[in-house]
Symmetry: none
Subunit: 495 residues, 2 copies
C-alpha cells in the first residue's frame, strides 16, 4: 500500500475514533451521567468535536487525498467519500463548529426545563441562537440553490428541498384522507391505561431483543427520556427506550432503535474506523428503524410469536385475549399530539408538519416567536387536533433544542423507503410473515444486511435505494401498504 | 490576560478534557461496555492517550510556557506545574512509551495465566522485560540521585527514596511488634460467611453515601471487579465497589473510593480543566481514601450512627447484636497473606514488603528469579506467615505485571499522612466521634476540603502535608492511633 494511503487511513481512523468518543460522551450524558456534570460535559463535547473537525480538515488530509493511489475499489470509494466530506467540512470554520456544539448542549439542558414547565419562553432564546448559528452555517455553502438544501444535504447527501417537498406532499396528500377515513378507533383500549408493570415490560423486551438478534455480548439497552441508538463500535451497539406504566410503546421504540443499531452493526468490518463505516444517510437509517418498528412490530406474524410472551408476563391484562386482539390494537389509527407515540399512519403527518415549519423558519420568514401558533395551525389542519400546551406541541421534540434542522424530513423519506423495501422483501422471501410467527427474523435481517447494511457509505443513498428496491424514491408502495392495512381493518381482516 | 496565557490555558484545557475522556473510556469499559467491544475500545483508548500526549508535548506549549506572563499567583502556579509536567513528559522518547505500553499489556496477560496456575516461571520473562524497560525509562532522568528516585517521583513528586525508606522503616518497626501482640482474633466471626444479601448491602451503602455527602446530582456508584474511582469532572464523580454475599467489604471499599472522589470533587473550581485541577500525589490521595475507610469507617461514632441501618437491612444477622459487636469485629487484627483483604494494621506491612523488594530489584541487585524467596522471607519476618504458593505470594498483585514500580510505597506514605491528618483533625474539631455518631460528617469533609482538597496541585505534596498537619512526614501519629486502638481492644475498651 502506498505510504500516502497508509497515512490517510491512519488519520481517518483517528477521526473515526474521535467521533465514536463523541457518541460515548452523548450516550453517557443521556443515560448515566450525574446531572450536575452537564456544564463540564458540554465543554468536553465541544473539545472532542472541535478536535475531530480540526484533525479532519487538516491540510495534510487534503495532501494525502491528492497523493494516495487507490489499489482497490474499496480504496477508490474511501477516497471519493473522504474527499466529499473533506471539502464540505473545510467550509465550516472551527469556531462555528464549537459554537454549534456548545449551543446544542446548552439548548438541550434548557429544553429539559422548558418542557417540564411547558414554558416556551425558557426555550425561545436558545432556539433563536440555534437558528442564528445554523444560518451562519448555511452561509458556508453558497452553492446551495436554496438555504434549506444545505441543511438537508448534511443528513441526506444529494437530496434537494424541492424533491423532498414533492415526495412529502404526495405522502401528506395520500395520508390525510386515510386518517380522516380511518374507522373510529375503539379497538385499542387493550393497550391503554395499563397498568403494564415496567418489570414485565423489561423482561418482554429482553426476550424480543434476543429473538431479533441483539446479543448481550454486543448490545445494551438502557432507559432514556428520548430514545436513541448509539454505536460506539460495530461490536458495541447501545439502544435506549422509555417505559411508561400505562402503555406498551417501549416495544415499538425498542424495535425502532434496534433497526438503527442493526444497520451500524452489520456494516462490512473492512470499513470500520473509516468514513465508509457507517450508515449512508438519515433517510436510509430511518427506513431501517421504521421497518422494524412497523412492518415487523405491527405484523400478524410478529404478534403470533410475541403474544404468548406478553401474556405470560402480564397475565392479569392479557389472560383473556388473543394475539389478534393485540395485533388489531397496535394497528389502530388515531390522531394524537405526540409524535413519538403516534400511530404508524399519522406519524408521517407529524413529521411533515415539522419539515414545513423548518422550511418556513429558514426560507419563509417564520419567526421563532411564532412557532407555537404555526404549530397549532398545522396540527389542526393535518390531525384535526387542538394543542393544549407547549409540552404537547412545539416543545415535545429534542431536535430543535440541539440545533438539528434538516433532520425531520428524513424520517418521512425513510418511511417512504421502508415501504419500497417491504414490497421487495415480500417478493424476495416467500412466507415472511410465517417466519416471523415462528420467531425467525434471520431471513429478514440477512436480506437487509446484504442489500443495505454491509455497503456502509460505499454506495450513495440513491444507489442503495435503487439497488435494494429496484427503483427511485417513490411514496407509492408505502401508501399502498397503509391502504391495504386499513382496508383489511375496515373489512375486519386485519387480524 | 496576555495572548500567550490565554492560548496556554486553552491548550491545557484541551489536554485536560482529553484526559477526562480517557477516564470515561476506562470507566465505561469496566462498568457498562458490552464485552465484544473490547478490541475497538483498546484502539479508542490508544488514540485518545496518544492525542493527549502529542497535544501536551507540542513545541507550541513550550513556547507558550516561555512567553506567558503570569498576572496572579494562580497563573504562576499554573505555569510552574505545567512546565514541570512538560519537561518530564518530553524526556521519554515515544518509542519507549510504546514499548512500555506493549510490555504492560503482555505482562498483564501473562500474569493472569501465571496467577491462575500459581506458576512463577510463566511470569518471570515478562517481569524481567518490565524491569529492563523501566531501567531504560529511569535513564531518561539522569539527574535522579538514585534509580528508584525516578520511579517514586513519578507518583509522588519531590519524594526521595531515602526519605521513604526512613519513614517506612519506622512504620514497619512500629507495626511488627503491634501485630505480634495483637489479641488472638476471634471476634470477627460476625462479619464472615454471611449471607449478607447484596440488595441489603446496596441499600445500606446508598444510605452511607448520602450521609457522608455524595449526592446523586454529582455522584454515581456502580459495580466493578476491581473497585476504583473516576472523576470525569468535579461535578461528575463515579465510584465503584464490589459486593460479595459472604462479607461486608463493600462498605469499606466504597468509603475508600469515596475518599478519592471527595478529594477530586472539592478541588477549587478555578483550577478545573488545568493541570492544577486534580489531586497532588498518590500518597496524599491515598491519605484521603485510607482516612475515610479506616479512621472514619472503623470508628465507634460511625458505627453508632450506621448500626441501626445495618440491623434494619439485615435483621436475621444483626438483630441480636450491638453496634459495639460490629465495631469490635471491623477492628480485628489478623495477619493474612493477601494485601487487598488485609486488616487496617497489617496492610502497611504488606506494602512495605513490596517497596523493599522494588528497591532491591532496582538498586540492590535482587534478581527477578529470586523474588519468590525474598517475598517468603519477608512475609515470615513481618507477618509471621508461610507463603503456601505463588498465587498467595508474589503473584497476587497486578502492579508489577503492568510495570508499575514506585506506586506501592505511596499506599504506606498515604497511611502515614492519614494518621497525621487524623491527629490534627481531632485537635481542631472537638467531639468529632460524637459528630459521627449523630451522622454528621460535614465538619470532617469541610476541614479536609479547606486544608487539603481545594489546593489541587497549587501546593507541592510536602507543602500540603506540612500546612494541613503542622509538620513534616511523620509515622508517629499513625502508630499512636493504632496503639491506642489496640490498647483499647485489649482492655476491652475498643467498643
Amino acid at each position: 500500500m502506498s505510504r500516502a494511503l497508509i497515512e490517510l487511513r491512519r488519520r481517518l481512523a483517528e477521526v473515526s475514533d474521535l467521533e465514536s468518543m463523541g457518541q460515548l460522551l452523548a450516550w453517557d450524558q443521556e443515560v448515566v451521567m450525574p446531572p450536575a456534570g452537564a456544564e463540564w460535559r458540554a465543554q468536553q463535547r465541544a473539545t472532542i468535536e472541535r478536535l475531530a473537525h480540526e484533525r479532519f480538515v487538516d491540510d495534510r488530509i487534503g495532501e494525502l487525498l491528492e497523493a494516495a493511489t487507490p489499489e482497490s475499489e474499496l480504496d477508490e470509494d474511501l477516497i471519493r467519500v473522504a474527499r466529499r466530506d473533506f471539502e464540505l467540512a473545510r467550509r465550516v470554520p472551527p469556531e462555528l463548529v464549537e459554537e454549534l456544539a456548545h449551543a446544542s448542549s446548552t439548548g438541550h439542558e434548557a429544553w429539559l426545563r422548558a418542557r417540564e414547565d411547558s414554558d416556551f419562553a425558557l426555550f425561545e432564546p436558545p432556539m433563536r441562537r440555534n437558528v442564528e448559528l445554523r444560518r451562519r452555517w448555511i452561509a458556508c455553502f453558497p452553492e446551495a440553490e436554496r438555504p434549506y438544501d444545505a441543511l438537508l444535504d448534511h443528513y441526506e447527501p444529494e437530496m434537494r428541498t424541492a424533491r423532498a417537498e414533492d415526495a412529502l406532499a404526495l405522502l401528506r396528500d395520500g395520508l390525510v384522507p386515510l386518517v380522516e377515513q380511518a374507522a373510529p378507533a375503539d379497538d385499542d383500549a387493550l393497550l391503554h391505561g395499563g397498568p403494564f408493570p415496567i418489570d414485565a415490560q423489561r423482561r418482554l423486551i429482553a426476550t424480543i431483543l434476543r429473538q431479533v438478534g441483539a446479543q448481550d455480548r454486543q448490545w445494551r439497552l438502557d432507559d432514556a427520556v428520548h430514545p436513541f441508538a448509539a454505536t460506539l463500535s460495530l461490536d458495541d451497539v447501545r439502544l435506549t427506550t422509555r417505559y411508561a406504566e400505562d402503555d406498551l410503546d417501549s416495544i415499538f421504540s425498542t424495535l425502532h432503535e434496534f433497526g438503527h443499531g442493526l444497520y451500524e452493526a452489520n456494516v462490512d468490518r473492512a470499513l470500520a474506523r473509516s468514513p465508509l463505516g457507517t450508515g449512508v444517510s438519515s433517510a436510509v437509517h430511518e427506513s431501517q428503524s421504521r421497518l422494524w418498528e412497523n412492518m415487523v412490530g405491527r405484523s400478524p406474524g410478529f404478534w403470533r410469536w410475541c403474544f404468548p410472551h406478553l401474556r405470560a408476563g402480564m397475565p392479569e391484562r392479557f389472560g383473556d385475549c388473543t394475539w389478534q386482539d393485540v395485533h388489531r390494537a397496535v394497528n389502530v389509527v388515531r390522531p394524537t399530539l405526540i409524535r413519538v407515540s403516534a400511530d404508524e399512519v399519522t406519524y408521517g403527518l407529524h413529521v411533515i408538519l415539522r419539515f414545513e415549519l423548518e422550511v418556513a423558519l429558514f426560507e419563509g420568514g417564520l419567526d421563532v416567536a411564532d412557532l407555537p401558533e404555526a404549530w397549532a395551525d398545522r396540527t389542526r389542519a393535518y390531525l384535526g387536533l387542538e394543542v393544549p400546551d407547549h409540552a404537547h406541541g412545539v416543545l415535545q421534540d429534542v431536535h430543535w433544542a440541539e440545533g438539528l434542522f434538516g433532520y425531520f424530513p428524513t424520517y418521512a423519506l425513510g418511511t417512504i423507503v421502508s415501504g419500497q423495501l417491504w414490497g421487495r422483501l415480500n417478493a424476495d422471501i416467500p412466507g415472511l410473515d410465517e417466519r416471523f410467527a415462528a420467531g425467525d427474523f434471520a431471513p429478514l435481517a440477512d436480506w437487509l444486511a446484504e442489500k443495505v447494511h454491509r455497503w456502509g457509505r460505499r454506495l450513495t443513498p440513491t444507489e442503495v435505494v435503487e439497488r435494494a428496491t429496484g427503483g427511485p424514491l417513490d411514496p407509492g408502495p408505502y401508501l399502498e401498504y397503509v391502504r391495504a392495512k386499513l382496508a383489511g381493518a375496515s373489512a375486519g381482516l386485519i387480524a
